[in-house]
Symmetry: C2
Subunit: 353 residues, 2 copies
């Protein structure tokens, strides 16, 4: 557990010495590093311009576009890390699941999984043939970036929810019904998804990503006991399968106040916290742990004085932490003014250097 001390794949000097990776390794940074979940995306006009006439999946499969979109917030905002632009369902599409990403809705799966027979649709991921564009995008990116690239993947529970519900869900009722009702089928489903996720992340790391974040976006729908029993084995398999690559592993899910110790126990080095749990309180649940977070993304819609006050509050609450990566408590909202994001980056840097 804890910080990462060695890396098998050494990033270039400036990246290796970046504040982001220094904090991940438990070293003193030049300033508190900051990046934003969904920094690459809908809040940036240059992103929206690029996306005109292109589907999300086509965009994710085109290295020049992935590179440009991932770079956009780094250029504009001066963030300390890039997050690989992709979608949670990209590896599912790549193994042949019939799905699309519908604007304003999200992933829609043509034939939702309902029983053991459907598991056969989930074959293992063969990165070189199934998604050659991922390694290509990462290589192109690290050649251009002077900050670390964070690899991106959805966690097994969140992927399972999309597969079983057939799309986004408020209740995750079908997913839980399968989990409670057919625990053996559920365990196999999550194990297969863990293998796919692991392969997807290893591909990004071996191509040059300096860290990864596993997004278990919807796992906050579960109690801690259910998380431990039904989800942790699969998420642990993903983290354990990355250990030999020696890169920092971040773990995040929204509404996971009750799960924070387990998100770390699953094998993460850094745990992301949403805005519901102040970082000093999160520190008491995760002693000695480097944490990431946790400004409420809705604060960025308030006037500048409020944004500043709230940003400083997060930094104050983070003082008790051994290491802090500033981020939001969830993704950037589409209606956010990019200038506000820049304002936060500058304030975090100025307040902590």
């Amino acid at each position: 557990m804890g910080s990462v001390t060695t890396s098998q794949i050494d990033p270039p000097g400036t990246v290796h010495d970046s504040s982001f990776l220094r904090v991940c390794r438990g070293e003193q940074p030049a300033h508190t590093p900051v990046w934003f979940m969904r920094q690459a995306g809908r809040a940036l006009p240059e992103y929206r311009a690029l996306r005109v006439g292109r589907t999300m999946l086509d965009t994710c499969m085109t290295p020049d576009l992935v590179t440009e979109i991932t770079l956009q917030p780094v250029r504009r905002l001066g963030v300390d890390a890039a997050i690989f632009f992709s979608d949670i369902v990209v590896p599912l599409k790549a193994v042949g699941i019939d799905l699309e990403i519908q604007p304003g809705i999200g992933p829609v799966v043509a034939k939702p999984m309902a029983s053991e027979a459907d598991l056969s649709a989930l074959r293992p991921l063969e990165p070189e043939t199934d998604l050659p564009y991922i390694a290509e995008s990462v290589k192109q990116l690290v050649a251009e970036l002077d900050v670390p690239l964070i690899g991106f993947a959805g966690a097994p529970f969140t992927l399972a929810s999309y597969l079983v519900e057939g799309g986004p869900s408020k209740t995750h009722a079908k997913t839980k019904a399968l989990m409670y009702g057919e625990p053996a089928v559920w365990a196999r489903l999550l194990d297969q998804l863990a293998d796919i996720t692991l392969s997807f992340l290893r591909t990004q790391i071996t191509a040059g990503a300096s860290a990864i974040q596993l997004f278990d976006s919807w796992v906050g729908a579960l109690s801690a006991d259910d998380y431990r029993r039904y989800v942790m084995p699969a998420s642990s398999k993903v983290f354990a399968g990355l250990t030999d690559l020696g890169v920092p592993r971040i773990h995040f899910g929204v509404g996971t106040g009750e799960l924070l110790p387990l998100l770390a126990e699953a094998g993460a080095d850094v745990v992301g916290v949403d805005w519901r749990v102040p970082l000093d309180e999160a520190a008491s649940r995760l002693p000695g742990r480097t944490l990431q977070g946790n400004l409420d993304p809705a604060v960025l819609l308030a006037p500048p004085a409020v944004v500043d006050e709230r940003t400083r509050l997060v930094l104050d609450q983070a003082r008790v932490l051994p290491g802090h990566i500033f981020n939001l408590g969830h993704g950037v909202l589409p209606e956010t003014d990019p200038d506000t994001l820049k304002r936060v980056v500058d304030l975090v840097h100025a307040s902590t250097s």
Copy 2:
């Protein structure tokens, strides 16, 4: 705080001695009382049959229908309390807010509130002229019921969210932007909503309701600090304004693990807990408090053996409580088999009598 010892409006003997009211008063019940949020509604075929060709708002404004729908689950399931059938936005509609409830979506407000000028749309509620059908429905109901009737209202934050967002929201971003950006306008809005809610609940109690539940469905979107600063004054005003009527006051919101002590501090006698926090853990956050909950509604979609096991687990975890009202951790899901609800009622009664 704590249990309610006197009632100004004494319900009939069987109701007064019911297990539900005994637990609310801190007395020993014959068995653990059980009711379900949304027990009156979409899961019951007899409800769906009644609703054919009728809008939700028309239904809520027709005493014969409200009475029949509220009674349906009492007859079929043998629950220990009835919950007044209504909708959170009924009092808003009654003061003239232009809104409708769209099937499959929820409340849609024609002109969402955005600034101070819009506050004038929120005039005080005059129950006798604005919603005479509420007192009429309650009176009709208590004449027919042999279990207590729980009055129903949405809390100021949740009402404000519908008014500001214009409908259901995943992020409550506009609501929070107003809250953070214009705290004085926000405070006035919540105070006006508190007055409306208070009047709505007093109407139900004086007509015969034996208890009330304040539903702050979406307040789990806030941190504890924000809850205390921006919401608690209004919710406290509602609870304080009911004290003279001497009925038990239940307070519930989904995803409120971080807020549980504050939900009690706001003035509730009983706090509802969702399934994310086990009741024994909730007891440590709310020592000496009677709690309501907290079976995950998705469990009811699993096979009977799982339903039984999980129901018993909730009862086990509740043993440390001074008083327990069995319920779900959120509303009954529409796809729930009514026989499963009946199974849970019978198991709770058999296990605790």
